[in-house]
């Protein structure tokens, strides 16, 4: 049922650029990219049990890889995507030993440090990243509409692949590792290898996000990967539901859209309002909007309806 709704949703998303102006189309494309990175955050935070503030690092690595390829006249988008995925995954494999042995809040702290380190490198390694000035990449697609549709296609395909992977035995192994890793080990499973694999896959996805970011905004700078971005990614994922990839993507897109909208409306107050929203969600919906048991709410509403109350009174 839920899956069937996805078809019109994607069709609607594909029709959007004809319904809004170019500026909005470009903004939506950027939100799609952030939604995809949000999926990589959810894969680690919700499914694997490694809450992360560091996916901005492979995101940045993929973006700079794609931008550099652009500077070297590689305009072929799929090549840039694959390269960015590879660089993001390789970056994750390099940093995996720091992450996969830790648990809980320690993971947050370590990934935060990895993210901060990535920004520092991005600001200092001028020959590759252009430093704080950033890099300008020549457009590979001519119109905002084309860039948006291309981004949408890549995001839909990747999210579908993630959903399929999570329904496969690999998804079971990850969820079981998150639930009780001692029991996994007692059944002979190499948990650390599984976590490393998930971390590398999430790095590859974030890397693709980086390439798409370069495609959509034709520019990349360290500001794209700031701590704010990392925090809002995690916030969006928690609000949307870390256990649900679609919830996480929607939550991330929502949070970044809200940030942009609020900072226009109430300059300087957006972080405060988003922080408040975070606290409220964490209390009311510990599993996010997507993790909330809507059916139970429906049952409760029916049970509390006047008709149901009358029936109960008659029975009593």
């Amino acid at each position: 049922m839920k899956r069937l709704l996805l078809v019109p949703a994607v069709a609607f998303a594909a029709a959007l650029p004809w319904l809004v102006d170019d500026y909005t189309t470009a903004t939506l494309a950027r939100l799609l990219v952030l939604g995809l990175v949000g999926v990589s955050v959810a894969l680690l935070t919700g499914v694997t049990g490694l809450p992360t503030l560091g996916q901005t690092a492979p995101f940045a690595a993929g973006a700079y890889a794609a931008a550099q390829l652009g500077l070297h006249d590689v305009a072929n988008e799929p090549v840039r995507l694959l390269a960015a995925a590879g660089v993001g995954a390789a970056f994750a494999l390099l940093t995996a030993p720091l992450v996969v042995y830790a648990r809980g809040v320690i993971v947050l702290m370590i990934t935060l440090a990895i993210g901060e380190l990535a920004i520092t490198v991005a600001s200092r390694w001028k020959s590759v990243t252009g430093g704080t000035d950033g890099l300008i990449a020549a457009p590979t697609l001519d119109t905002d509409r084309a860039r948006y549709l291309y981004t949408l296609a890549v995001v839909v395909v990747l999210v579908a692949l993630v959903l399929l992977a999570l329904r496969s035995p690999a998804g079971l192994l990850l969820r079981a590792s998150r639930d009780d890793e001692a029991r996994m080990r007692a059944s002979g499973h190499p948990v650390t290898a599984y976590l490393t694999g998930a971390y590398a896959a999430a790095g590859g996805i974030a890397g693709v996000g980086g390439a798409l970011l370069v495609t959509t905004q034709q520019y990349v700078s360290p500001a794209d990967f700031s701590f704010d971005t990392a925090a809002l990614l995690l916030l969006g994922v928690v609000i949307g539901g870390a256990g649900s990839m679609l919830g996480a993507a929607a939550g991330t897109a929502f949070v970044f859209a809200a940030r942009d909208w609020l900072s226009g409306l109430l300059p300087g107050h957006a972080p405060l309002l988003l922080g408040a929203l975070f606290v409220v969600t964490a209390y009311l919906l510990p599993r996010g909007v997507a993790g909330f048991d809507w059916r139970r709410l429906g049952r409760a509403a029916r049970a509390a309806s006047p008709g149901a109350m009358r029936r109960r009174n008659q029975e009593a």
């Binding site: 035995p169 079971l172 009780d180 001692a182 029991r183 007692a186």
Partner: protein
């Protein structure tokens, strides 16, 4: 035949407390050995040491002729050591069936190939009608049955059972007795259990621990009659 499990002066300290104190065990292949003793005797700690869940402070462990003292728990499981925990450990967000299939995956070449044998095991433990239910929704007794199914799914050569009867209903207890009776003859079992009726019915040899130390071993009849054992349990000073 050579002993399948040998512990030599196996020791585990927690600060000044010696939870397991220089224990020497020799268990023959196919033997059913029970470990009994009062609360805090070190039974669970001993099983944890054998399974590799915790590291010894001293001593060695040999399994099937191989020194496994330095091996981690996953490696030991793949060598053929299966276990259940005193507090049932299952994967709550997976279905009952997937719990067993994932537990069997390492020894049966993947989760998919494990589903059919998993169904048979659930049947044997009376959980067939719960196959599609999330393990989080099982009762305590059902979770324990499930973890037994998970341990058996790995087809271990050495099975470590930590209080399998605790918290079971009368029906479940009876079924546990049957399951234990029907275990393959070649499977070596180390059973920690407070229900002495089960212990005496099941074990070839019973070993008594107290305060981390070895007290005595004997056949169920010997142990039942033993004055030392009653003292170990009552806490009287010998």
């Amino acid at each position: 035949m050579a002993d399948i499990l040998i512990t030599e002066a196996l020791t585990r300290r927690y600060g000044s407390l010696v939870a397991v104190d220089r224990i020497d065990l020799r268990i023959a292949p196919g033997e059913r050995r029970a470990i009994i003793g009062p609360n805090g005797a070190g039974k669970t700690t001993l099983l944890d040491l054998v399974a590799g869940a915790i590291r010894p402070s001293g001593g060695r462990i040999r399994f099937d002729g191989r020194d496994i003292t330095g091996s981690g728990p996953a490696r030991r499981a793949r060598l053929g050591i299966g276990r259940i925990h005193q507090r049932p450990a299952v994967w709550p967000s997976l279905t009952t069936l997937d719990n067993v299939a994932v537990a069997a995956a390492q020894s049966r070449g993947g989760v998919r190939r494990s589903r059919r044998p998993a169904i048979e095991l659930l049947d044997r433990l009376g959980l067939a009608d719960q196959a599609g239910v999330e393990a989080a929704r099982l009762s305590h007794g059902q979770r324990r049955q499930l973890e037994i199914a998970m341990a058996l799914a790995g087809e271990p050569r050495l099975l470590l059972l930590d209080e399998p009867a605790a918290g079971l209903s009368a029906v479940e207890f009876e079924r546990l007795g049957e399951v234990l009776r029907d275990l393959p003859e070649g499977m070596t079992v180390l059973l920690v259990e407070h229900r002495l009726d089960l212990v005496y019915a099941f074990a070839d040899v019973v070993t008594v621990l107290r305060d981390g130390q070895y007290v005595v071993s004997g056949t169920p009849d010997e142990i039942r009659m033993s004055h030392t054992v009653r003292q170990a349990y009552s806490g009287a000073v010998a």
